[in-house]
């Protein structure tokens, strides 16, 4: 099943399918290792509801929901 990273629930895991961001945001996502076929685990939501925390490539990354919206994921069971 495909859905956006921003729609993930805590503890859900998935594989990056596509990144639809532009310009700097896209480049930043790539540089931080959010590239197709990367496995991402959704870990946490900030106390105020945004940003979110995910883990990938052995480290913790924080990004906003606006940014997570640009990452299309394939949910892993």
């Amino acid at each position: 099943m495909e859905k956006l990273l921003s729609e993930f629930k805590i503890g859900e895991k998935g594989i990056v399918k596509k990144i639809s961001a532009d310009g700097r945001m896209k480049r930043r996502l790539f540089d931080m290792g959010v590239t197709p076929n990367t496995e991402i685990l959704f870990r946490k939501v900030s106390p105020l509801g945004d940003p979110i925390e995910v883990s990938l490539r052995g480290y913790e990354l924080s990004l906003r929901k606006d940014e997570a919206e640009k990452v299309l994921m394939e949910v892993q069971e």
């Binding site: 700097r24 996502l29 509801g49 940003p51 913790e60 990354l61 906003r64």
Partner: protein, 733 residues
């Protein structure tokens, strides 16, 4: 001379390595804190002197942040003899991404695998040989923290620095290999580091394509002939993907897999970023920091146990109480009970400098002008600065601990949403929080903010986060109000007021700024680790050195000028005046004070003294208290109303910061932004102080405590903040 630079991801241990290699040789003038400026030092274990340059931590060589631009330009233009690429061995995958980019530059590279001690503790190893063969550069295992392998590293780097190395790329055997080769062949005779530029050209880097339009066109024609890919012809994406693919394919077996369960960091995070508790915990941490630094009644022990100690007695000797000149003169204990560490150290420092003044006074002739210059001018001025250095350093130490431990990034994570309302990202919080230590490093740290507008706004509100040099003003005023209400509550309320006004200011700027987009927030949350004692001490030492430097130059000059102005009249050739009332300073202050008349502290017989103190504060904020002391305004002689004290505090908090901070603001903000910033500081401070004085006077007439004034203002501020953001949201909807 050999130049070696350190490059690597943030949090890879670069600063620790730099401190270990250079010891105490790091250049003064580098501000402690986040490494945004490059720091330089020298390594002296070889006959030849080696310059070590610490580049800011970066994830990539793309010109995405100012740090990346600084690092990229340094390596490409300054042409160091060797680059040491520090790689966090516990996070090989993301760290090697930068390595693959560094390798493309024509410079000798040595990979330093850091944190090998942690790996060994977990019985993990990395195939150094495979890594070295794949990249064709030497790889050395080190532990910067434990000082292991550093001699080896330097020996290898020194050897490499004598060599010449041509860039290599891991893209060669990939789909873009032919494109890179084509561009490389064209560029190799015309530019240095042709491979790096070739890859950038294939990535469609704007600058690169503008420099070589024909070649860019040829490459783009070639691209259209290549088979379809998954990335819709986005070559930036393809290349980033190829890099990670390559790392994954070749080194997957070396990636460290820690236990799948919760790490220590996760467990700490469960509490510190908890849905409900994280914000109260953060506020509590900040209060504890201030309590430890400023409280005169530590943990309320005095109140609980009713400790009453007179100014003389053995108990005071151990607590540092009763050594303040003012206290001894009056022969009674103003401070009683057990103080916090900050107040304790401050008392002791006061005792030390006080004794030195007594000593000089005892052997210099009484009444001579040079006795006055030395004792009343220089030494008294130095005394007023030195007595607060312990508190400044302590506050700075706390901020460094929070930064070093990784908690600051969590604070950004927690606060981001709140900050976005004000047009800032959670990242702006780190520089702003550093503002509590010193505005100068805080403003330098705004380099981590990608957006120019956000940088300007952040710089504009940084001084509102009361810096360490302003702390003695609050400490002095707290002592004055201590008889009326709690000193530490007063200080705490000043800090809160600063934050509240900063928030309002940011909202105002957001509302009045066109097309203001909130910058992205894609940020690593590093693992928590215990702060390193050595790094903390290096930071503190640099800070201390900076204070001493400032005190012995600019502040000393100001003190001597003020001493002259306050001890001589316009006909100064007649010698010193007996009464400060007839001095030059008095006559100037008496005219200028009318500006501050509406603010409450310009009126009365002492009005010109507060005016003079405010002006000398522009040279350095330390001078506010220094000047006041010289003009006879100490704890017992300040007789402003509560409202006027708050107004005086607010004015000094929001007005132009010291010259060092002003010049930093100038270099860090945009050109147009800086002039607006100056006007902004002058106008805002006057308006806020005005409101506080009049509102405070009004409320003081009806209510009991001045502190209620602040509470009311803060509540109004918060309500206004929510009102503005709600209204905006309603407009959008």
């Amino acid at each position: 001379m050999i130049k070696i630079c350190l490059a690597g991801n943030p949090n890879c241990g670069k600063t620790t390595l730099f401190n270990s290699l250079t010891g105490s040789t790091a250049h003064v003038g580098n501000w402690p804190g986040v490494t945004v400026e490059k720091r330089e030092g020298s390594y002296r274990k070889f006959d030849e002197k080696i310059d070590i340059v610490d580049l800011p931590g970066i994830y990539s060589m793309s010109p995405y942040t100012p740090e990346e631009v600084v690092s990229r330009n340094y390596i490409l233009d300054e042409k160091p003899n060797c680059v040491i690429n520090i790689v966090d061995a516990t996070n090989l995958e993301r760290n090697l991404y930068l390595t693959t980019q560094l390798l493309e530059i024509d410079v000798p590279v040595v990979v330093a695998l850091n944190m090998m001690d942690i790996l060994k503790k977990n019985n993990e190893t990395i195939d150094i040989k495979a890594l070295s063969e794949a990249f064709k550069v030497p790889v050395v295992e080190i532990s910067a923290l434990k000082d292991e392998g550093l001699d080896d590293l330097m020996k290898v780097a020194y050897g490499e620095a004598k060599k010449v190395r041509k860039g290599t790329t891991i893209l060669e055997k990939t789909t873009v290999g032919s494109l890179v080769r084509e561009a490389y062949n064209e560029l190799k005779t015309s530019v240095s580091s042709p491979l790096f530029h070739a890859v950038k050209l294939v990535e469609n880097d704007e600058l690169e394509c503008k420099d070589h339009p024909e070649l860019a066109k040829r490459i783009s024609d070639m691209k259209s002939k290549l088979p379809e890919d998954d990335f819709e012809g986005d070559y930036e994406a393809i290349i980033a993907n190829e890099r990670y693919e390559y790392i994954g394919k070749n080194f997957k077996h070396t990636f460290v897999k820690f236990n799948e369960g919760l790490t220590k960091s996760d467990k700490i995070d469960k509490v510190l970023t908890h849905k409900i508790w994280s914000i109260p915990i953060f506020l509590l941490i900040m209060f504890v920091v201030f309590h430890f630094t400023f409280s005169e009644d530590f943990l309320g022990l005095n109140k609980i146990f009713g400790l009453e100690i007179t100014s003389k007695g053995w108990f005071n000797f151990f607590t540092g109480m009763g050594y303040d000149g003012a206290i001894e003169e009056e022969g009674e204990a103003i401070l009683s009970g057990i103080p916090s560490l900050g107040v304790f150290l401050q008392s002791w420092m006061g005792f030390l400098t006080g004794s030195i003044i007594d000593l000089f006074n005892s052997f210099l002739p009484e009444g001579a002008w040079y006795t006055s210059l030395i004792c009343d001018g220089i030494l008294t001025g130095i005394d007023s600065i030195f007595s607060f250095i312990p508190q400044v350093l302590l506050l700075y130490l706390f901020v460094s601990i929070l930064e070093d431990s990784g908690y600051m990034a969590r604070v950004a994570f927690i606060m981001d949403r709140a900050f976005r309302k004000f047009g800032l990202s959670g990242k702006a919080f780190i520089p702003l929080l550093m503002g509590f230590g010193c505005s100068v490093p805080a403003m330098l740290a705004t380099k981590t903010l990608e957006d120019e507008k956000e940088r300007d706004v952040t710089i504009r509100i940084t001084p509102f986060f009361s810096c360490g040099a302003k702390a003695p003003i609050w400490t002095l005023l707290a002592a004055v109000v201590a008889g009326r209400f709690l000193g530490d509550v007063f200080v705490f309320s000043i800090y809160i007021l600063g934050i509240a006004i900063a928030i309002i200011a940011a909202i105002i700027m957001k509302v009045f700024s066109k097309n203001y987009d909130v910058p992205p927030f894609i940020m690593e949350l590093p693992q928590y680790h215990a702060p390193q004692f050595k790094n903390l001490m290096v930071h503190l030492w640099e800070k201390f050195k900076h204070f001493i430097y400032k005190a012995s130059t600019i502040i000393m000059a100001a003190i001597i000028v003020i001493w002259f102005l306050s001890n001589f009249s316009w006909d100064f050739w007649n010698g010193m005046v007996d009464d400060i009332e007839s001095s030059i300073l008095a006559s100037v202050g008496r005219v200028v004070r009318y500006i501050f008349y509406p603010l409450g502290f310009g009126s009365g017989a002492d009005g010109w003294k507060y005016t003079a103190a405010t002006f000398t504060g522009l040279i350095a904020k330390e001078d506010v208290v220094g000047t006041m002391a010289q003009l006879g305004l100490v704890e017992g002689t300040i007789n402003l109303s509560n409202a006027a004290i708050y107004s005086f505090a607010a004015y000094n908090l929001f007005t132009l910061p010291c010259f060092a901070a002003v010049s930093t603001a100038k270099s860090e903000s945009s050109k147009k932004g800086f002039l607006v910033t100056l006007a902004w500081w002058l106008a805002l401070s006057y308006i806020v102080a005005l409101i506080i004085y009049w509102l405070g006077t009004l409320l003081e007439a009806v209510l009991w405590l001045g502190s209620i004034v602040i509470v009311v203002i803060v509540l109004l501020v918060i309500l206004l903040g929510f009102y503005v953001s709600k209204k905006k949201r309603a407009q959008i909807a």
